[in-house]
Amino acid sequence: MRARRDSGFRGTECDQRDVALLAAIEDGLPLCARPFAQIGEAARMDEGEVLARLRRMCAARVIRRLGLVLQHRALGYRANAMVVWDVPDADIDDVAQKIVAHDFVTLCYCRERRAPDWPYNLYCMIHGRERRLVECQIAAVKRAAGLDQYPSRTLFSSRRFKQRGARFSAPAPIPMAAR
């Protein structure tokens, strides 16, 4: 297994009460006047402790954000493009900074090249309402970031089968002996 670039903060930044709190909110915040007091009942802590711990974990970016997540297709965002490029490792940080300067770019990552016939390492997502507009946006990104010289593919999504947040308390892996 490769070494992880981001070493975990488990056991240092988050204590057991933080973990209990994260598990209590992973399915969503209660829709009531004092949601953090209600969470506190589930996590066995008072409202003040819930607020203090959540503020600290938001500031530390353990929680990227609290809030709502759109089911983007229901709001008309049906043109969802994943654009990938094969960029030399030495150039990728500079190219990525030019890509993320566009406010319609929703996500941008560097990923390992792992599949046959898949040389791409730079990924960018654009969510739009009109496929033709998204195609124009992709062309604009390519021009501005000097990306026309690199091999590229655009993969529009045609169907969505599942969309929800990553879960925190995933079940334990099946022991090796049981598989």
């Binding site: 297994m1 992880r4 975990g8 903060f9 488990r10 994260l22 992973e26 915040l29 004092r34 953090f36 409202e47 607020l51 959540l54 503020r55 938001c58 970016r61 353990v62 929680i63 990227r64 954000r65 609290l66 809030g67 709502l68 997540v69 759109l70 089911q71 229901a74 709001l75 969802n80 994943m82 940080d93 900074q97 993320v100 770019v105 929703t106 996500l107 941008c108 990552y109 560097c110 990923r111 390992e112 792992r114 599949a115 898949w118 969510h127 593919r153 993969l155 999504s157 045609s158 969505r160 089968f161 599942k162 929800r164 947040g165 990553a166 925190f168 995933a170 079940p171 334990a172 892996p173």
Partner: protein, 152 residues
């Protein structure tokens, strides 16, 4: 999904709360004060938009790296006549967060999260065993931007 259409106040709530939610004792009252409405109205509207399927959820977005957890993007090349059956097999796993069909030979793309990297690898092996198809992982090396805020 109902055909509930968002009005101007719904859209204002969506646009305001994709960026964050107040961590205070009366957060919905604070949101209401931004939008010139009242606490009960904000709660009712968010509830209605969740029920109508306009919002996929209302809660936290975790940073799995900071939690010591692992997340991966994975892709499979699924024969067209097996696509629906395979998507059911993949989506049945709790660790799978989303799954999209895309127009490429690698036509099924999903994101999975687990507490550990070995948990991800075990999941991928299980999916390969259940479907008889190879699953390719594309682990993240660097993150440049993770905004994903859309104008309602």
């Amino acid at each position: 999904m109902s055909d509930h259409a968002p009005d101007a106040t719904d859209r204002a709530i969506i646009n305001a709360l994709q960026g964050g939610f107040p961590v205070t004792d009366r957060p919905f009252a604070e949101v209401a004060s931004w939008l010139n409405t009242d606490e009960a109205d904000v709660i009712a509207r968010i509830s209605a938009m969740l029920d109508a399927g306009m919002l996929s959820r209302f809660g936290p977005m975790y940073n799995m790296d900071r939690l010591g957890g692992a997340i991966t993007l994975a892709a499979m090349s699924v024969p067209a006549d097996r696509f629906d059956a395979v998507s059911e097999q993949v989506n049945a796993h709790r660790e799978v967060a989303h799954n999209y069909e895309r127009d490429h030979e690698l036509n099924m793309w999903f994101v999975a999260a687990a507490e550990t990297r070995s948990g991800i690898d075990a999941l991928i092996e299980r999916i390969e065993a259940e479907t008889g198809l190879p699953v390719f992982q594309f682990p993240k090396e660097r993150e440049y931007f993770i905004g994903l805020r859309l104008q309602a």
